[in-house]
Symmetry: C2
Subunit: 388 residues, 2 copies
């Protein structure tokens, strides 16, 4: 099969707020090859990722992503890896390329799985798909009272694990943060798995992060996520050495395999969190999962958007029974929730699994595309580059 | 002063080839504040970097670069650092942001220097600007004979240092590469400083790189540049351990300070090469220079475009007398060469220095902008985002 067509759909809520809620827009990708179709999703900034697909070449190592994709043969996972390697060299100086390619790569796995009648995790070499324990992923409330209420809702909703992130934490005092952590714990109950995400708030300030460790320990947090900038490995490893009980988590900022491996090898994280919509798709994420297993680190998906992205993000570690925790956006915006007709529903034990269906197993809702899509037009020197 | 206006000029040669020649197009940036003007340049992919300035917000940590720049106060270097820190958090998930910001940041230093009547290196804290030894930076010929000819030209042109890069090297046999290295040495003469750049060709294959070390040693190469992917630190450090004589060089792919520091701390390079058009401008580059000094590593600029970018790239290490080598594009395309009215000319000893003039000390040629600029139009949902 040849890749005949790649279409992008820029979907967005009518209003976008400054909340750290990544489900407010989406860049959906449809790939056609040999009369078959696959779907994927790029994480964040749809306009910029579209531009990286269609932009004019700057030089031999800064070609648009389209140059390495359109017309290429796609018959096996090896073909996906080959195209990825081409982009790595030919779009080396195009920073956004990794995000653009991520959605296309997902769509190629989906397409290949549909053609072969197999779920992606089988194409990746797993014999079975293990159930995952979803953690309700949401933002801290503006006050501890609000966080308490949110955590109580999560528990009542049947979740046994929850992550609270961003919001006011790290922006005020150590005591204020402690109140937030304890409110989350109180709402979640004594047995719930509590995870804390601070969105790089401390840059590389190890002492600022370490000052919160006693409260995180008292609240029984399993991990502290992204205390520092994505590549501040030295800071990560210093904090890890000071935190025997609360493990560090990170990795969503990785836009290639090396960055994720480095966070494990040099940053000493206990959990590596990979966003398939950023790292270059499912293939590189599987390589990170292999590395995590070899290093005794736990792999976790990073997903804050649709269930299409959720299914894609679980495939790379679907077969790893001991890597059980799974990010699960608890209240995505309609543009993300309604992107798919089906969803990864929790079973009677509160667990989820990727669909036992060809490809990513998700059905795209054309009505959602119609409702939320924005027209995009890119022109250079009078020539329309998009729509193509 | 407030930042009132940021203008982008997409300049390009009429024809762009697949050669690894980064001077074929340019994204020139003009910033206006308080009636003053500064100029900067983003490295590569003009359309995508423009898109990252004007794109709609995706969420609170994925805002367009413009949101953190327009209307901001700019009275001191601390203001530049403050804006950079805002972008780091507010455009965290917008991968291309670092490249877009790089050109704006340069322009802000230029503007501030012009307002204060001081060169940028003084604003950075240096007491004097040291002369640098430019190395003629060019591509390998397609054959050793062509490389021999090119190297001879360089020597006759008075250069005492030269870098040959990309082209066929690493794509054929070890013997073929050896012939290229020796041809470069022969043409350059026995005393010339010879540098070799292979553009990440070996991915993370340490053995493939190590197989070339004997020939590199025989040719007396001072460094081997970018044997591996930008963040493949483990491969870098393994090769460094096997190469006592030929040092490793890298860093042009760093799009933040952490990545460059990591290449030093975990990759064991002997030379760190920073492109101010990618790393976020001059401020972060100066931080890398400080780190290099502390670690006994030599700082080098990475520049393959205009003399505006060249001046910007030297400022961060202008005051470091022992960090003497300087990348100097030897045959940039007219769009890059004619971007500025003045140039960093070699003196009677073949050395160069940044202008002892306010800001970056470069005068932009408006005629070049008129000749080479391409119209860009970006629309989302019927709204024209660019030109603004």
């Amino acid at each position: 099969m040849k890749i005949e067509q790649v279409d992008f759909f820029y979907l967005a809520m009518p209003e976008i707020t400054t909340a750290g809620d990544g489900s407010q827009d989406a860049l959906l990708v449809r790939v056609e090859a040999g009369g078959h179709v696959g779907w994927g999703e790029c994480e964040a900034s749809p306009l910029v990722s579209i531009a990286a697909f269609v932009c004019p070449m700057s030089h031999g190592a800064c070609r648009p992503v389209s140059a390495s994709v359109l017309g290429q043969t796609i018959d096996s996972p090896a073909d996906i890896a080959r195209i990825a390697a081409t982009i790595e060299l030919d779009s080396m100086d195009l920073l956004q390329a990794a995000h653009t390619w991520s959605g296309i790569e997902m769509a190629l796995w989906d397409l290949l799985g549909r053609v072969r009648g197999e779920p992606v995790w089988k194409l990746l070499g797993y014999n079975r798909s293990e159930k995952k324990t979803p953690y309700a992923s949401q933002l801290f409330g503006d006050t501890p009272q609000e966080t308490l209420r949110l955590a109580g809702n999560v528990r009542r909703d049947g979740f046994t694990a929850a992550k609270f992130g961003w919001g006011p934490v790290g922006r005020g005092s150590v005591g204020a943060d402690a109140d937030q952590f304890m409110a989350a714990r109180e709402g979640l109950g004594p047995d719930g798995i509590l995870l804390i995400d601070v969105g790089q708030i401390w840059g590389e300030d190890v002492d600022a992060a370490a000052a919160r460790l006693p409260a995180l320990e008292e609240a029984g947090a399993v991990w502290l996520e992204e205390p520092f900038r994505a590549s501040a490995y030295a800071a990560y490893s210093m904090l890890a050495a000071r935190s025997p009980r609360v493990k560090l988590a990170g990795g969503e900022g990785a836009h290639n395999v090396d960055m994720a491996r480095n966070l494990i090898d040099f940053g000493a994280v206990g959990f590596v969190q990979i966003d398939c919509g950023r790292i270059g798709g499912i293939g590189p994420a599987k390589k990170v999962a292999d590395h995590a297993v070899a290093r005794g680190v736990t792999y976790v998906n990073h997903t804050f958007t649709s269930h299409l992205a959720l299914s894609a993000s679980i495939q790379p570690y679907a077969g790893l029974a001991e890597h059980r925790i799974c990010e699960y956006p608890v209240s995505p915006k309609p543009v993300a929730h309604e992107m798919t007709c089906n969803h990864l529903q929790r079973d009677e034990n509160g667990q989820i699994a990727v669909p036992d269906a060809p490809g990513l197993g998700m059905e795209i809702n054309p009505e959602t595309i119609r409702t939320f899509s924005l027209d995009v037009e890119l022109k250079v020197a009078g020539v329309t580059l998009f729509p193509q």
